[in-house]
């Protein structure tokens, strides 16, 4: 993680100042410098991945590695805006590279066409943050475990039809600052009338407050025990999307892919079956996820990718710049209802 800013990165060029002006005015120069010193790994370049890539590149990170071993298909081309129309058959990350780089020439955009499962542990250590999309549960748990110990920020996210989620593990001790308005002290002189103005206090002054927050691992977050009384009583307040995620992750593990429109009938059946299995194993009723969910979990809805990708992108910016309170630790979005929820799962 960037604790100190590398010397040569200390000066922002005129070009950067002009291009990043509107965001520097929002999150400040320090935050922008930290972003500028950060390297991020992004796995999976479908609809959600393309949105996250765009958001990070526009934000001005130092480097972004696009990793994907899959090939462009008609469906993947329809789902995202970085891949050219004649790229069928090419590697998805490779096909996205040119347009991604053009979004901001000041970012080093790289491509890696290997399967993420094949990467050794130390591959991940060169990054300040990793963002995993379209990955299996086992892979995500493994990467999360080895990154957390090295203070590398871990993010996971996916979009399934109208539904999407984001998870973050920023480690045991994530330090950040928040900007708060400065408390204006009352005047010292008792005789001041209402019009007394010292003329020196700037009402717009703010102060930076330091904070620390801790996160649990993905493994803990996904392996909540629902059989104890406390968990059961909190069920009513638990978003159904959490269980939907468990079902879809199992589908992905079992089938090696996500539900596909081409095999709608077959996949719908399988989905319902897996739902029954997963919920039963957790000691919960199938009613938590009504059958109606099925037909809205296929492929990726572009606007849902935009929303989840926007939130995920901003969480990455917050974590890398160490500024502003991060979401902790899940964000679920339901595109049918248009509702987004932040919730915490795992040990407190």
């Amino acid at each position: 993680m960037i604790d100190t800013i590398e010397k040569e990165d200390n000066i922002i060029s005129e070009e950067e100042a002009a291009q990043y002006d509107r965001q520097i005015r929002l999150w400040g120069l320090d935050a922008q410098k930290r972003l500028r010193g950060s390297r991020v790994l992004l796995v999976g370049l479908r609809g959600l991945g393309a949105e996250v890539a765009k958001n990070l590149i526009l934000a001005g990170v130092k480097g972004l590695t696009l990793l994907d071993h899959e090939q462009v298909t008609e469906e993947s081309r329809r789902a995202q805006f970085l891949i050219p129309v004649d790229a069928d058959g090419q590697n998805q990350a490779q096909a996205s590279l040119e347009r991604a780089q053009l979004l901001n020439p000041m970012v080093e955009v790289k491509v890696d066409t290997d399967a993420v499962e094949s990467k050794p542990d130390d591959f991940f250590f060169q990054f300040d943050a990793v963002c995993l999309t379209r990955c299996s549960k086992d892979l995500m748990v493994r990467v999360d475990q080895l990154c957390a110990s090295r203070n590398i920020k871990v993010f996971c996210g996916d979009v399934y039809g109208y539904h999407g989620y984001m998870f973050s593990d920023l480690g045991q001790e994530h330090h950040y600052v928040e900007e708060k308005p400065k408390v204006v002290k009352g005047s010292n002189e008792a005789n001041d009338g209402p019009e007394a103005k010292k003329g020196k206090v700037d009402p717009n002054e703010t102060t930076m407050v330091k904070k620390t927050i801790s996160f649990c691992s993905l493994k803990e977050a996904l392996e909540v025990d629902w059989t104890n009384e406390k968990a059961k009583s909190s069920l009513k307040r638990t978003p159904a999307d959490y269980f939907l995620l468990q079902v879809l992750l199992k589908f992905r593990t079992d089938k090696g892919r996500d539900p596909q429109p081409d095999s709608f009938a077959e996949d719908s059946q399988l989905f319902l079956q897996i739902r029954d299995d997963v919920l039963e194993t957790m000691g919960l009723s199938s009613e938590l996820l009504p059958n109606t969910f099925v037909s809205y979990c296929f492929s990726e809805m572009a606007p849902v990718c935009a929303v989840v990708g926007g939130v995920l992108g901003q969480e990455l910016v917050k974590a890398l710049s160490q500024r502003d309170a991060p979401h902790r630790n899940f964000f679920f979005f339901d595109g049918l209802k248009g509702s987004g929820v932040v919730d915490y799962f795992g040990s407190k």
């Binding site: 200390n10 965001q23 609809g47 526009l58 308005p181 595109g335």
Partner: protein, 609 residues
């Protein structure tokens, strides 16, 4: 079982590909919105934007690259979208949506209109056109980390103008001219000074000390003394600032020392001693004295942006000198009778305001501000990032899908009866007289009983009845309020100019005239909506007359959009916004809370219901 096309059910996918939609604005929200629309399956899209691309847009308007700077946003957006979706049918207009060419018939071509705007005037206009054409409108806005989306459908929901919107913050003249206490007062003063010296002189933008300030409260005994004092300066005051400046050849030192500025006028202010009984008095600056000071307190370059340096008094005095000289040459180049228009992106203009404002801040013992900060305040800059726009544009498309299905009760809107009824397509405003409007139209078409007409504080006499509506400044898009106190009934009437009425038809009413209209809403502390107002600080143009009987008041006239870049502004400068966690309730929404300055109400801005 249902058939899917990608993530969508087939019927939905089919209806999207035949649908025609209009996107108003191709900036922050517009770029994201266009991308989402084509990826979702919309095929027929028209997009309109009057602006060109600026380098500061590139951090979020991702359809544009550096090489496109200066080109039309709508045009380049279209080209970029076609690159990843060549089958989309996109029409781009480099034009203002307020151009009368885009009449009700134009709007009727679309099944849906989506705003991606940054100013209130255009939003009001599109709102009225969509109501007149009876087309659903999706309204949205973003600022920093905040954003919102609303669906507007005539007959089902409130319209954009049902809730009064907060107006641009203005400051009293005496604060600007006599007793500034905050940097923003000095900045506004500096902008006024720019106009008085180099631009269009405006009686509302006086910079000299205000002797009419009620606080000054001179008693008669002093009056004589004042008279003498003002004779000395009297000459200067009788001559306009610009004439005087011209007479000295815009000599920066003379400007500095003499009029309006940092020495003589301050000395004059000091004579108004009542002002300074409880305030710290201003300290005049003298050009020569400043330059004798130790070459100063200039901060080391440090790790900040160059613009974020705060200079010392000497530095700003020099900046003042340089910028006056540059602006002077600009004026000369433009020729006889030329005027400059202030633009935050014009370096000497921005330098001038930075310097003048800071010198004044120094005079009034305020901490000085960097050019970076002054630019934010003077230029009404709203910070903006890609992710907020991405989220909002995603939500817009999701609302669009519900709208097309006519699922209005699923949409996130407030269902109230709307504020306005539309007398649309009124004939040429140059021909329609007040008499015809009041008597024939209002009385016969609407159940307004005995209208007498009042325009801007004055009840009109009979002789005015034959005046044309346009004589009162009423034009295309104007909105009038008709109160019938006999019936306790208020009608808001939107006027739309048209040249296409049939022969002998003087006006046409669009929309159902109700038996009873809603009573006009009392301006309340309405929900503060981050719509982003581009309008710069100007006096409000609405005139509210004391009402008698039935009155027709001009409620507002659309302001001309200002020429320079589309930067938005909220009420006051430099608000920082936080992105907070949402609740975890069932129908929960992602809420973003506005951190207000202490004086304001604390209100939630709800992005989703």
């Amino acid at each position: 079982m249902a058939q899917l096309v990608g993530p969508l059910r087939k019927e939905l996918a089919d209806s999207l590909s035949s649908c025609r939609v209009l996107v108003v604005g191709a900036g922050g929200i517009g770029c994201e919105l266009l991308k989402n629309l084509v990826l979702t399956g919309f095929k027929n899209i028209e997009v309109i934007d009057l602006d060109t691309i600026d380098v500061s847009n590139l951090n979020r308007q991702f359809l544009f690259q550096k090489k496109h700077v200066g080109k039309s946003k709508a045009q380049v957006a279209k080209e970029s979208v076609l690159r990843f979706c060549p089958s989309a049918n996109i029409t781009a207009y480099h034009d203002s949506i307020m151009n009368p060419d885009y009449n009700v018939e134009f709007f009727r071509n679309f099944q849906l209109v989506m705003n991606a705007l940054d100013n209130r005037a255009a939003r009001n206009h599109v709102n009225r056109m969509c109501l007149a054409a009876d087309i659903p409108l999706i309204e949205s806005g973003t600022a920093g980390y905040l954003g919102q989306v609303t669906v507007i459908k005539k007959g089902q929901t409130e319209c954009y103008e049902c809730q009064p919107k907060p107006t641009q913050k203005t400051f009293p003249g005496c604060t600007i001219r006599n007793t500034p206490s905050e940097p923003i007062h000095c900045i506004v003063w500096a902008k006024y000074l720019f106009n008085q010296l180099f631009g269009e002189e405006d009686a509302d933008q006086e910079v000299s000390p205000d002797t009419a300030d009620p606080e000054v409260a001179w008693n008669p005994a002093d009056a004589a003394a004042r008279a003498t004092a003002s004779n000395k300066d009297g000459d200067i005051k009788r001559v306009s600032t610009k004439e005087w400046a011209r007479s000295t050849g815009y000599d920066p030192v003379k400007l500095f020392n003499k009029v309006q500025l940092f020495k003589d006028d301050i000395m004059y202010l000091l004579t108004m001693d009542k002002l300074w009984k409880k305030r710290k008095a201003p300290l005049p600056l003298d050009w020569t004295e400043i330059h004798q000071l130790e070459s100063s307190q200039e901060e080391a370059f440090g790790t900040g942006l160059k613009d974020q340096q705060v200079l010392g008094v000497q530095g700003y005095a020099q900046l003042f000198h340089r910028s006056v000289e540059t602006l002077r040459s600009q004026l000369i180049e433009k020729g006889e009778g030329a005027e400059l228009v202030w633009d935050k992106d014009d370096p000497p203009a921005m330098d001038f305001v930075t310097a003048a404002a800071n010198l004044r801040m120094n005079v009034f013992s305020m901490n000085m501000k960097s050019r970076f900060d002054v630019k934010s305040m003077a230029g009404n800059i709203i910070p903006a990032i890609a992710t907020t726009n991405a989220v909002i544009a995603g939500l817009i498309v999701l609302e669009a899908l519900k709208t097309l299905n006519s699922d209005f009760d699923q949409c996130r809107t407030v269902n109230l009866q709307c504020c306005s009824f539309h007398v649309g397509v009124i004939g040429l405003v140059q021909i329609l007289t007040l008499a015809v409007f009041a008597f024939d139209c209002l009385r016969n078409v609407f159940p307004v009983i005995g209208p007498s007409v009042q325009v801007s504080m004055k009840t009109t006499s009979v002789s005015n009845n034959n005046k044309f509506l346009s004589d009162f400044g009423i034009r295309n898009g104007s909105r009038l309020q008709a109160d019938d106190f006999l019936q306790d009934y208020t009608l808001l009437v939107n006027l739309i100019h048209s040249e296409e009425l049939e022969k002998d038809v003087e006006f046409e009413v669009v929309g159902d005239a109700p038996d009873k209209a809603p009573v006009s809403s009392v301006p309340e502390e309405g929900k503060n909506i981050a719509n982003g107002n581009k309008d710069s600080a100007q006096p409000s143009t609405s005139s509210k007359a004391a009402a008698e009987d039935d009155d027709v008041l001009i409620v507002d006239s659309d302001e001309e959009p200002s020429s320079s870049t589309m930067e938005t502004s909220l009420e006051s400068s430099n608000r920082k916004r936080k992105h907070h966690d949402a609740d975890t309730d069932d129908a929960a929404s992602k809420r973003k809370r506005l951190d207000q300055q202490p004086a304001d109400d604390d209100e939630d801005i709800i992005a989703l219901d």
